[in-house]
C-alpha cells in the first residue's frame, strides 16, 4: 500500500470519491484508507471499466457536479452499481459485491466478495462522523460524554 500515490489515476479516484461521498479529498485521505480502497477497487474492476469510471473525474469540480454524478455515474448501467458500492465502501469500510447481472455483463472478480477491508477501515467508516458519533468499539469519547448535547451537524471540510 503506497501512502503517497500521486498518479493521475489515484487522484481521479479521490476526485470521484469526494463527489460521491460529500467529503473532500483531504478528509478522505485523512482516513488512511485510500490505499486499501484503491487497491480493492482495482482488484474488482476490469481495467477498461476502471478507466471509464475515472475518465469523468476531469469534468468534476467545474460547477454542476450533481448533474454529472447522476447522469454519468448513478444512472449508468455499468458505472451506477460501482459508484454505489464505492460510496458504501467509504461510509462503512465494507465492500458490497456487485450484482450477478453486472458480473455477467462486465466481468467477475474473485475479489468481489462481501468483507470489511480492515480493522482500520471499520473504524474510519465515514458513517460514524456523518451521524455525529464514533465507531462502536473505538475512538471513544470519554466518561460521561454520552450525557452531553448531541453534536451539531458538521459540513464538509469543517
Amino acid at each position: 500500500m503506497s501512502q503517497h500515490d500521486n498518479s493521475p489515476a489515484h487522484q481521479a479516484f479521490l476526485t470521484v470519491s469526494a463527489a460521491l461521498t460529500g467529503y473532500n479529498s483531504a478528509e478522505l485521505q485523512g482516513t488512511g484508507c485510500t490505499g486499501e480502497y484503491w487497491h480493492q477497487f482495482r482488484q474488482v474492476l476490469p481495467e477498461e471499466i476502471l478507466n471509464r469510471f475515472l475518465s469523468h473525474a476531469q469534468s468534476l469540480g467545474q460547477g454542476d457536479d450533481d448533474q454529472i454524478i447522476r447522469q454519468t455515474y448513478l444512472s449508468d448501467r455499468c458505472l451506477g452499481p460501482i459508484a454505489r458500492s464505492l460510496i458504501q465502501l467509504w461510509y462503512t469500510g465494507q465492500w458490497v459485491p456487485l450484482s450477478q447481472e453486472w458480473r455477467e455483463s462486465y466481468g467477475a472478480s474473485r475479489f468481489d466478495v462481501v468483507k470489511i477491508i480492515s480493522t482500520r477501515s471499520y473504524k474510519e467508516g465515514l458513517v460514524w462522523d456523518a451521524i455525529g458519533a464514533h465507531p462502536m468499539g473505538a475512538k471513544q469519547q470519554g466518561f460521561g460524554a454520552w450525557a452531553l448535547e448531541p453534536p451539531r451537524k458538521r459540513e464538509a471540510g469543517q
Binding site: Q88, Y91, A130, G132
Partner: protein, 634 residues
C-alpha cells in the same frame, strides 16, 4: 475406547465452568483455605494483551456484530449463535445451530463457552430482584415460591455488588424511588440494609434518557383497578462498569455482607495490559466486547482467586467435562473430561478430575446436558425443565429532534415502574429498557441506513451526509423484557442423534411463550406507543410474520428475541420432589454434588439474572466450604 488417566492431585472442590458463578465460588473457597480445580471447556481469552486485543480486531472485522462475534466458535466447542435462529416449522427440529430447536417457538438466547464465560459479552446490568419475586405463588398464584425470601439474600446481594463493582446510588434504587407500586405493603422497607451503598456512583444518564424523562409523571393504567395506575419515571440502571468510587460518608466504612468495607478500588483489565481500572470511557460496544474491560468480567475475579493463594487454585482450560461418575454410595467419585490441545481439532485425551466436593457451574443449559448425559439427579424429574428467559421485544421510532445516539453504554436507564404490582396475577411484569445505540439492535443501524439511502433512495454526497445525520440522530429504541413463568414443557433434553464433533450431547430445546408473558409484552407495547405519542416520536416498529420469533396475542402480531438470560433448569426448592437442589444448591440426589448458576433460580422475575446468580454463588460457597470441612459421607 481411550483409557482414562487420573489427575495426580485430589482437590477439595472441583468446579466445572469458569464464568460468573465459578469465579466467585473459586475466590471464596480459596479464601477459606480450600484447594480448587476449575475445568473450563473453552480457551483462555485474557491471558495476554494480544489475545484480548485479537478479539477486538475480530469484532471490527465481523460483518454481523453478534454477541459471540469477537470470540472463536470452534467446531469442537460450539456456542449457540443468534444467527442460527430460524422459525421452527412442523415436527422436524431446526438443527442448523448448536441447539437442536424443537419449538414451537425458537429459543433465541445464547451464551459463550470460554474462560470468563458469558461475562465477556454481557451488558453489565446488575439489578436486584423485588421482594415479590420470591413469592410468586403465594402473592399471585403463579409459578412457585423460592425456598427463601428477599431478606435472606440481601447480604449476598451486597457481596456480589462489591465483587462486580456496581455503579449506582442506593437512594435511587429502592422500589419507591423507582416508581414501583409494589404488591406488598412493606416491600420498600429495608430494601437496602441501613448504611449500605453501592461501591461506585451511578453511571451518568445519557442525553437520550433525559429526552425520555420529559414524559415522567405520565399516568399509565396497568391493571383493572384505577389504584394500580402508575406514574412513568425514567430511572438509572445499576451497572457493572467502572464509574467513580464512592467515598464512604461514615468513617467506619460501608457495611457489606456483615463486614465493613472502605473505598472501592476499581479493577482494570486482566493480564499485562495498559488499562488499570479506568472509568467507562464510552466505547459503545459493551455487547459484545469492552475494549478496556471497564465493564466487569469474571476473569477479574478468577485473577483475584489466583493471587490469594497461588498453589490452592488450578485452572485447566480446553477441558470439556463429559461425565459425572458416581460411586455405589451415590456420591460423585470423579469427573471425566476431554482435554484437547488444539482449538478446533477433535482430538483429545480422556482424564479424570477428583475432589471431595463437585460443582457444576457451566450455565443453565450446559449443566443440564452434562447431568443428563451422566444420568444423575433424576429423582425430581425437574432436571432440564422450567427453562426461562426474558422474551425481548423492541419498539423503535424517530424522535422529533437530535438525541445523540451511538454514544456510551448500551443502556443507562429504564422504566422500572412495571417490575411489580398487583397486575401480576394475570399479566407478566416487565421492564422497559431505554437504548443508547439508536436502531442498532433493531435494524442493524447505522450500516443498514447507509445501504438504504444509497441503494434505494439514490442519495450521494452532501445530501447523503445530511440525511444520515438527520435520521440517525433521531433514532430511539425501547427494549421490553418480560418475565416468564416456570413451565415443565419449556425444557432442555438430550438425544443420542445429536452430538458435537467431540462426541458431546447437543442441547435439545423445546420452548414456547405462554399467555401470561404474551399479555405482558402486549401491555408493554401499548405503553411504548403511549410514550411515543407523548414525546412526538414517529413509530417505525415493524413486526413481520416471517420473523423467527413472530407470535400473536389477542389478534395482534409481535416479534421477540432472546435476552441471553438462561434460567431455571436446575431449580432450588424445599423438597427432592419439587426441585433439583436444596436452597444452598446441593443436589438432593448426590451428597457431594452442587449445581450453581442461573439455572438454580425458580423464577426469573424482571431483573437480569447475573446479580442474583452471583449472590447465590456466595450462598452456595459457604455451604460448600462447610461440607469440605465436615468431610466424608453424611
Amino acid at each position: 475406547m481411550n483409557a482414562i488417566t487420573d489427575d495426580d492431585r485430589t482437590y477439595d472442590v472441583v468446579i466445572v465452568g469458569a464464568g460468573f458463578s465459578g469465579a466467585i465460588l473459586a475466590k471464596e473457597l480459596v479464601s477459606a483455605g480450600h484447594t480448587v480445580l476449575i475445568l473450563e471447556a473453552g480457551a483462555d481469552h485474557g491471558k495476554t494483551w494480544e489475545t484480548y486485543r485479537s478479539y477486538l480486531d475480530q469484532y471490527y472485522l465481523s460483518l454481523a456484530k453478534t454477541p459471540n462475534s469477537p470470540y472463536p466458535d470452534l467446531p469442537t466447542l460450539p456456542s449457540p449463535s443468534v444467527l442460527d435462529i430460524t422459525a421452527v416449522r412442523g415436527t422436524e427440529p431446526d438443527t442448523n445451530g448448536y441447539f437442536v430447536q424443537r419449538g414451537p417457538l425458537p429459543f433465541g438466547s445464547n451464551y459463550l463457552r470460554a474462560y470468563g464465560g458469558t461475562s465477556l459479552h454481557w451488558l453489565g446490568t446488575s439489578l436486584r430482584m423485588m421482594p415479590a419475586d420470591f413469592e410468586m405463588q403465594s402473592r399471585f398464584g403463579q409459578g412457585v415460591d423460592w425456598p427463601f425470601g428477599y431478606k435472606d439474600i440481601r447480604s449476598d446481594y451486597e457481596r456480589a455488588e462489591w465483587e462486580i463493582g456496581v455503579s449506582a446510588d442506593a437512594e435511587e434504587q429502592t422500589p419507591r424511588a423507582l416508581g414501583i407500586k409494589t404488591s406488598g405493603k412493606h416491600d420498600n422497607r429495608g430494601y437496602f440494609a441501613k448504611g449500605y451503598d453501592f461501591p461506585m456512583h451511578s453511571i451518568p444518564s445519557s442525553y437520550i434518557d433525559g429526552f425520555f424523562a420529559r414524559a415522567d409523571g405520565m399516568p399509565i393504567e396497568i391493571g383493572e383497578d384505577p389504584k394500580d395506575t402508575v406514574k412513568l419515571k425514567v430511572s438509572r440502571t445499576p451497572q457493572g462498569r467502572n464509574s467513580t468510587p464512592r467515598k464512604p460518608k461514615n468513617a467506619n466504612g460501608i457495611p457489606v455482607g456483615r463486614k465493613m468495607r472502605y473505598q472501592f478500588r476499581p479493577r482494570g483489565s486482566t493480564g499485562p495490559f495498559a488499562y488499570m481500572g479506568q472509568r467507562c470511557e464510552g466505547n459503545s460496544s459493551c455487547i459484545p466486547i469492552c475494549p478496556i474491560q471497564a465493564k466487569y468480567n469474571a476473569m477479574k475475579t478468577l485473577e483475584d482467586a489466583k493471587h490469594i493463594r497461588k498453589h490452592h487454585m488450578k485452572t485447566i482450560t480446553q477441558a470439556v467435562a463429559s461425565k459425572v461418575e458416581l460411586a455405589e454410595s451415590g456420591r460423585v467419585s470423579g469427573i471425566v473430561y476431554k482435554k484437547y490441545s488444539f482449538s478446533g481439532v477433535a482430538q483429545y485425551e480422556l482424564r479424570r478430575a477428583k475432589g471431595k466436593q463437585y460443582v457444576l457451574a457451566g450455565g443453565a443449559v450446559e449443566n443440564v446436558t452434562l447431568a443428563l448425559a451422566s444420568e444423575i439427579c433424576r429423582t425430581s424429574g425437574e432436571l432440564g425443565r422450567n427453562l426461562m428467559d426474558h422474551p425481548y421485544m423492541m419498539t423503535w421510532g424517530s424522535a422529533p429532534e437530535p438525541v445523540g445516539p451511538f454514544r456510551g453504554p448500551g443502556s443507562t436507564s429504564s422504566y422500572a415502574n412495571f417490575r411489580d404490582g398487583t397486575f401480576r396475577d394475570r399479566t407478566a411484569a416487565h421492564r422497559l429498557e431505554i437504548g443508547n445505540w439508536g436502531w442498532n439492535f433493531a435494524t442493524g443501524a447505522p450500516n443498514t441506513d447507509v445501504a438504504r439511502f444509497v441503494e434505494q433512495e439514490n442519495l450521494f454526497g452532501k445530501a447523503l451526509r445530511d440525511k444520515l445525520y438527520h435520521d440517525v440522530q433521531r433514532q430511539v429504541r425501547i427494549g421490553t423484557m418480560v418475565e416468564q413463568l416456570p413451565r415443565s414443557t419449556n425444557r432442555v433434553t438430550i438425544d443420542p442423534a445429536y452430538r458435537t464433533p467431540m462426541g458431546e450431547y447437543r442441547p435439545v430445546i423445546s420452548y414456547d411463550l405462554d399467555d401470561y408473558s404474551r399479555a405482558g409484552l402486549a401491555t408493554a407495547y401499548d405503553t411504548c406507543t403511549q410514550i411515543f405519542q407523548r414525546l412526538g416520536i414517529r413509530n417505525h416498529t415493524a413486526y413481520n410474520p416471517s420473523d423467527a420469533g413472530y407470535f400473536t396475542y389477542d389478534g395482534r402480531g409481535y416479534t421477540f428475541f432472546g435476552a441471553g438470560h438462561l434460567v431455571g433448569t436446575h431449580r432450588i426448592g424445599t423438597h427432592p420432589r419439587n426441585s433439583v437442589t436444596n436452597d444452598v444448591m446441593r443436589t438432593w440426589d448426590h451428597d457431594n454434588l452442587w449445581m450453581v448458576g442461573a439455572g438454580s433460580m425458580p423464577t426469573i422475575a424482571t431483573s437480569n439474572p447475573t446479580l442474583t446468580m452471583s449472590a447465590m454463588a456466595y450462598r452456595a460457597s459457604r455451604a460448600i466450604s462447610d461440607a469440605v470441612r465436615k468431610g466424608g459421607a453424611k
